[in-house]
């Protein structure tokens, strides 16, 4: 039920925003402040959703090296900045994560 309501709810709101003005046939326009604010939403949302997943794991903050996610994310950020490639960022990020976890298992 939970998953089904999420998928159906997402489908409805997504179609609603896409159809909004096309359905209204241009009789209404977005307030200017909203339009300007919207340009910051992608960066803000992507960062805000990523950061907790890196530093807050299973209900508590984790900054230890064994975490691996922070290091993998930092390396991935550099790869994304240098190459602009989604694929390379993912592949190298995953490899670093595996590497750090293998190493910390070795040491610890």
């Amino acid at each position: 039920m939970y998953l089904a309501s999420v998928i159906v709810g997402m489908a409805l709101v997504t179609f609603a925003v896409r159809f909004s003005f096309i359905g209204l046939a241009g009789r209404w326009s977005l307030p200017e402040l909203v339009q300007r604010g919207l340009q910051f939403v992608p960066v803000a949302m992507l960062v805000a959703i990523t950061v907790p997943d890196l530093v807050f794991i299973n209900g508590s903050y984790s900054f230890s090296l064994a975490n691996g996610r922070v290091i993998a994310a930092l390396v991935a950020a550099v790869v994304a900045w240098k190459t602009n490639s989604v694929m390379l960022t993912i592949v190298i990020g995953m490899l670093v994560l595996f590497g750090v976890q293998a190493l910390s298992g070795f040491v610890g």
């Binding site: 998928i7 709810g9 997402m10 992608p42 803000a44 949302m45």
Partner: protein, 227 residues
């Protein structure tokens, strides 16, 4: 572009250079759905019913954290609000088309189809059948996206769960966000979002996400005004 059919074909052709750019993202949207614990049928219905990559990835991330359904749907709405601008810009070109045409065109709007339609509008402002050009580009993307997403879903289902494939979701976000940080304003927006999100990570129901979003957008608006 003198006939709807010619405009549709021109749109489909205009999309081809973008294929390589969207394929990895589509593939990841499929892999991530399975990695987040969705069954193959659920992952397929999400891809077909929602068809909005960033919103899907954000929702998957929240699903793995068992966030409330209302919050996930609301977050998807916020991520997709930009489609309202696209809808408003495309609306005049399809005023005379049927409701079915309008509904179908709306369902397949993406960042890419919108960008191609705007590019055409700048180059040939008086071109006839611009709505058909958009539909040609958007339907081509939809088809290729769904094929790649399905490949991702079936690949994801083959991978053992101890590979931690769910980590591909934050990695994808990193790949998408880093190139968008180009100046002082976008840098400050990102930094505000990062600090607020880290500080509010322990709040229940992932409510820290919306707080951080609001704070970061406010910082963006304030800095933009000043410069």
């Amino acid at each position: 572009m003198d006939s709807p059919r010619a405009a549709f074909t021109a749109g489909a052709r205009a999309f081809l250079p973008l294929v390589l750019g969207i394929m990895p993202f589509a593939l990841v949207s499929g892999v991530a759905a399975v990695a987040a614990g969705l069954s193959v049928p659920s992952a397929l219905s999400m891809s077909f019913l929602v068809y909005a990559g960033s919103a899907q990835l954000v929702a998957l991330q929240l699903l793995t954290a068992n966030a409330p359904a209302v919050l996930i749907v609301f977050t998807a709405l916020v991520v997709n609000l930009r489609f309202m601008i696209y809808s408003a810009t495309l609306a005049p070109s399809m005023e005379r088309n049927s409701w079915f045409f309008k509904a179908l065109s709306a369902y397949v709007i993406t960042d890419q189809s919108y960008a191609l339609a705007m590019n055409l509008a700048l180059r040939l402002p008086n071109a006839a059948h611009r709505a058909w050009f958009h539909l040609g580009a958007a339907l081509t993307m939809w088809l290729l996206w769904q094929v790649a997403a399905m490949v991702g879903i079936f690949l994801g289902a083959q991978v053992p769960s101890d590979w931690q494939l769910e980590f591909t979701i934050p990695l994808t976000f990193i790949a998408l966000v880093v190139p968008r940080i180009k100046d002082r304003v976008s840098g400050s927006v990102a930094l505000t979002a990062a600090i607020c999100a880290a500080l509010t990570a322990a709040l229940p129901f992932k409510t820290g996400l919306l707080i951080s979003l609001l704070a970061a957008v406010t910082v963006g608006l304030a800095l933009e005004k000043r410069s």
